[in-house]
Structure formats: C-alpha cells, structure tokens
C-alpha cells in the first residue's frame, strides 16, 4: 500500500492524468453529440419546406385523408415553383400515439412481473434458461415478428372478432381486416418487452441484500418485500427502461407497416369496440412504406418532416425521463 494520506485529490499520476481522462471521455461524448446534432439538423433542414408550406402548425391538424394527400404530393407538379405540399398529418400522429402508449403500458406491466419472476422468484436452473431467452427475444428481427403477425395472428383475429356485421358498420369509411390497431399493439408490446425486462432484471439483482433481509426480518412476506423495497429501489431503472422502450416503439417501422393495416386512418373511439380493429399507420411505418418516393422532391421533404417529428418526440421523451428521475435522486439510489 502506498500509505498516502486520503487527500480528496488523488495523487498517483497527478491531477494531470485525471484531467486528461476527463477531457478524452468528454471529447468522445461531445463528438457523438455533434454527429447526432448534425444528423438532426440535416433532417430538419430537409423537412422544413413541408412544415413551411403547410402553415407550420396546420401540419399537425386533422383534415382529409392522408393517403390521398400523400399520393397527390407524389404525383404533383415537378417544377420547383409549383411543388405541392398539402398535408394534414393528424391521423399519423394519432396512430403513433395510440400504438406507442398502449404498447408501452402493457409492456411495462408485463415486464415488471416477468423481471420480478426472473430476478427473484425463479429457481436457479430456470433463471439460467430465462436470461438467454430474454436476449433471444431482443434480437428477433422485426421482420420475423411482422411475418408471424400477418401469417398466424391476423387470420386468428379476423376469424374471432371481425364479423360481417362489424365490417358493414364501417364499410363506407374504412375496410377492417385482421391487420389493425390491436395486432400492432400486441406485437409491439412483445417487441419492447425484452428491453425492459433486461434492464429491470439487472437492476433488481443489485438491490442490497441487507434491505431485503431487513424487510423480511420485520415480517413482510416475499411479495411485500419485493413490492415495497425492491421495486421502489429500482424506480430509476424502470424509468430508464420505459424511456428506452418508448423510443424503440416510436421508431419501429417495418413490423408495424406489415401488421397494423397500412392505411392512414384516424381511429375513431366513438366506434366503440370496433375502433380496436381499425387500421392505423404510425409515422415510422409511413416513412418506410413510402421511402420509394424519396427522389420526388416535395415527397422527400414530407418524409423528412415526419422523421423530424419523430426525432423531436424522442428528445422530449428523454427530457421527460430526466424530469421524472429528479425526485428519485433524494433516495440516492444510484440515479
């Protein structure tokens, strides 16, 4: 042992090496920030004309059928003075909101129970099997989930829930089939589940043993201990998992374009139960369905505008996550 006094400023190598390390790490982070910033700026610059020509805030409002509007933009005049940009993207935003919100809520509940099971309640052998299973689920390509959706689940939903009466009730507005909002939510939930389970599971396994022992010594049963002590202790991890999973859900494109109905329709809650089976097309799915039209200038601008909206929502999401974590700092639970 070096026997040096425990001065607040470490001595080995001097403050210089510490400084250097901080600068190097900081530089890497700043470079990353600059790169991502560059990407964001590019996307915004490319998408700006679409917002500008639509009166800025009106881009986000409802007003007509999005599919028709997109087709008109794609087939529109090709001289720069006459580019056609009209778009009212509310159905897309509403679709994104619905799928993401419900998928995340259901996935959160499912994930909490599943990670408690894996981290606390499962026997050793089962846990050793389940951890690779979680990672396997995280690596399944979205195409595979999409295929399972359209090949196996969509016909099931159609047979079980979509009768001729239901089809007739909305016939003049929209066609409803097995590919709809419900299927999109279910499969999206399955997709983001492993991310949440993985993060919450690792966090649960680092709750100090003494806390758990103390709680059980006071007479709480296993479940009460888990609920009141462990879950509370890992709240920051739950928040982090939710943010990451929501971001992933927002960005999921290929799978949703296959299973959620590929028709930009604003789901009408007034239709009651039938509303669950209406087709929906979130923003990312719209981008991927229409990417082939990218070389048409006004259409390309429209797609970049949608991408810009997605990027902004992720930034807001991350900020919200930070804001939620602030009160948790009081407990000093590794935030």
């Amino acid at each position: 042992m070096s026997g040096q006094a425990a001065a607040p400023a470490p001595q080995r190598g001097g403050a210089g090496s510490d400084r250097r390390a901080e600068l190097v790490l900081g530089a890497v982070s700043v470079c990353l920030l600059a790169f991502i910033g560059l990407m964001t700026v590019t996307v915004f610059v490319e998408g700006w004309p679409s917002f500008a020509h639509n009166g800025y805030y009106k881009w986000f409002l409802p007003g007509g059928d999005v599919d028709t509007q997109l087709r008109k933009i794609l087939d529109g005049p090709t001289s720069p003075a006459h580019y056609y940009y009209h778009l009212r993207a509310w159905p897309l935003l509403w679709g994104t909101l619905l799928t993401t919100f419900f998928a995340v809520v259901f996935a959160l509940i499912f994930a909490i129970f599943a990670s408690i099971f894996i981290a606390e309640l499962a026997p050793r052998s089962v846990r050793r099997v389940l951890e690779p299973v979680v990672r396997l689920l995280a690596s399944v390509p979205s195409v595979v989930y999409g295929l399972i959706g359209i090949l196996a689940l969509a016909p099931l939903i159609e047979k079980a829930f979509i009768s001729q009466e239901r089809k007739h009730s909305v016939q003049y507005v929209v066609q409803i089939t097995g590919e709809n909002l419900t299927l999109g939510i279910i499969i999206l939930m399955v997709m983001i589940l492993p991310i949440m389970v993985s993060l919450i599971m690792s966090a649960l396994s680092t709750v100090p043993r003494s806390w758990i022992e103390g709680s059980e010594a006071l007479g709480a049963n296993r479940w009460r201990t888990i609920r009141r002590v462990s879950l509370h202790a890992v709240r920051p991890a739950i928040v982090a998992a939710t943010v990451l999973a929501t971001a992933r859900a927002l960005g999921e494109a290929i799978m949703l374009s296959l299973v959620a109905g590929s028709r930009a329709f604003p789901v009408n809650p007034l239709d009651g139960f039938t509303a669950l089976f209406e087709p929906v097309q979130p923003l990312a799915a719209t981008i991927v369905e229409n990417v082939e039209g990218l070389s048409t200038v006004p259409f390309g601008h429209t797609l970049y505008a949608m991408a810009a909206v997605l990027l902004v929502s992720c930034a807001l999401l991350s900020f919200a996550g930070w804001a939620v974590k602030q009160p948790l700092k009081r407990y000093g639970i590794g935030v």
Partner: protein
C-alpha cells in the same frame, strides 16, 4: 488480457473466413434497381458471366426509383426499372431500353373462384362503386368486398391502373395498401372476401381471374391475348457504352437462346424464340 486476445483472434477468424478467395482486378458492372427485376437480372448476370467469361455484373436491389436516382448520379452503371418512364418527374438524359414484359393478374381467394371480369366490372369493384360480392356476377361468396391495393410508388400499381382502369380512374381510397406482391398474395389467401392484383408468379394458392374473357396465364400473355402486361427496362445515363452496352446488347439480342430461355421462364420475352 487473455480474454481480449481471444476476442481479437475470434474477430480475425471471422474476417478471414468471410473473405472469399475470388474477386480480383477487372471492374465489374454495377447494377441496382427494382426488386421485381432482381430475380431476372441475377440470372442474366450469371449466365452472361458463364457464356462470355467477363466479370459477373454485380446486381443490387433497392427500388425502381432508387435505380433511376443511382444511374442519374452515376453511382451505378445500369438501373433496373419496372415501371414506364414518367416524363417530367424522371431525370433527363436517361436512355431506357426495354428488355422484357411482365404480366399482372387479378386474384381472389380460392373460396371465391370468379371466372372472368369485364373492364366495367373491374372498374366498379376497384373504385368502390360495388361493395358487396352479392352484386358481382360469378362470385362464389357473399359479404363485403375487401380491396387490396399496392402502395402508391409501386410499378405494379401503375401498370394495373393504366391498363385495367384507364389512365384517369384511381383505385378507391379505402383499399388496404400492401408493400409487395407477396403481401397481396398472402392477404388474399387468408381473407375470403379479398380481391387484389399481383405479378404473374405470385398466383399460387389463390385463384387467378380471367380478364375480358382471357384467362391469366403465361401462354396467353406471351401470345398477346391477355392484355394486362407491363414493361421491364434497363436505364443508362446517355446511350449505353462500353461494358454496359455489351451486356445490354447480349440481353436484347434476338438470337440469344440463353437469355431467351431465362426470360421466358417466368416473364414475357420481347421477340419470338430464336
């Protein structure tokens, strides 16, 4: 330390394993474009290499529009495009060479084997005028019609609209837009009430409808009786020169039996058998 070394060795092993022994020197043609033409183009490239011993052209796939874009910017030598040129939208200065034709069939579920549809009936169904199968003569089921469309940038959709519906009529807005032939085929296979249109090859497991009294088969399309066909093009910037010209000439040579055999397996050649 040992772990890092093991990891590095593993990485190096992957890299060397993945480096095929071939590929040196001579520059090969770069081709990009439509996914519909990809199966045809890869076979043609492979056969070209076998018969002329020139380096095999490298065929990638993106989309028809990506092919046009790439050729225009000089990123590739030849672009594959499965739709007709759109004057005004497509970049100027490109030369389009037709190499084959491809047929488009209308399909329904096997439970609904309609034998034939006339142009008026097709228009009525696909524009949404008629919404019940009970109003369609020859339908095998009752129920509401589920229209299956393609997305707006699809070449097949353009072909269908221009040929079957006429230049000004558009497919109904309430139709569900699928991204590819395979998805349309899958949808129609699973949904009794569905009707859609696909490229020739995708008619297995579903029922192909005759149009204007002619059944939708490869022979009828080759003989010219079946009218629903669209063109496949190879696009170059300016007139084809050098290697590109040699490849395109090889494909479009009327006396080339190999190329004819490949094209006529699933598509429609432009000239009779040599």
């Amino acid at each position: 330390m040992r772990r890092t070394r093991n990891a590095a060795i593993a990485l190096a092993a992957v890299l060397t394993l993945a480096a095929p022994a071939s590929a040196i020197a001579a520059k090969a043609l770069l081709i990009d474009g439509s996914t519909s033409i990809f199966p045809l183009m890869t076979q043609l490239a492979s056969a070209y290499h076998k018969s002329t011993h020139k380096p095999e052209p490298k065929v990638s796939q993106g989309t028809s529009d990506a092919g046009v874009n790439d050729v225009d910017h000089g990123r590739v030598d030849i672009g594959d495009v499965s739709r007709n040129p759109i004057f005004g939208t497509d970049p100027k200065g490109l030369v389009w060479t037709k190499i084959a034709r491809d047929g488009v069939c209308m399909i329904t579920n096997d439970k609904n084997p309609i034998q034939n549809l006339s142009q008026e009936e097709v228009k009525a169904i696909f524009t949404g005028e008629v919404r019940e199968w009970s109003e369609v003569p020859g339908a095998g089921i009752t129920g509401s019609i589920d229209l299956v469309d393609r997305i707006s940038s699809s070449g097949t959709q353009d072909a269908f609209q221009n040929i079957f519906l006429g230049l000004t009529t558009k497919i109904s807005q309430s139709a569900e837009a699928e991204k590819s032939n395979g998805l349309v085929q899958n949808k129609v296979r699973n949904d009794e009430d569905a009707i859609g249109f696909v490229s020739f090859h995708f008619t297995q497991g579903v029922h192909a409808i005759g149009y204007q009294g002619v059944a939708c088969t490869l022979q009828n399309a080759k003989s010219g009786q079946y009218q629903g066909v669209r063109n496949f093009w190879m696009v170059t910037k300016g007139a084809p020169k050098g290697e590109s010209a040699q490849f395109i000439d090889w494909i479009t040579d009327a006396k080339n039996a190999t190329a004819y055999k490949i094209i006529s397996s699933s598509w429609i050649p432009l000239y009779p058998a040599p």
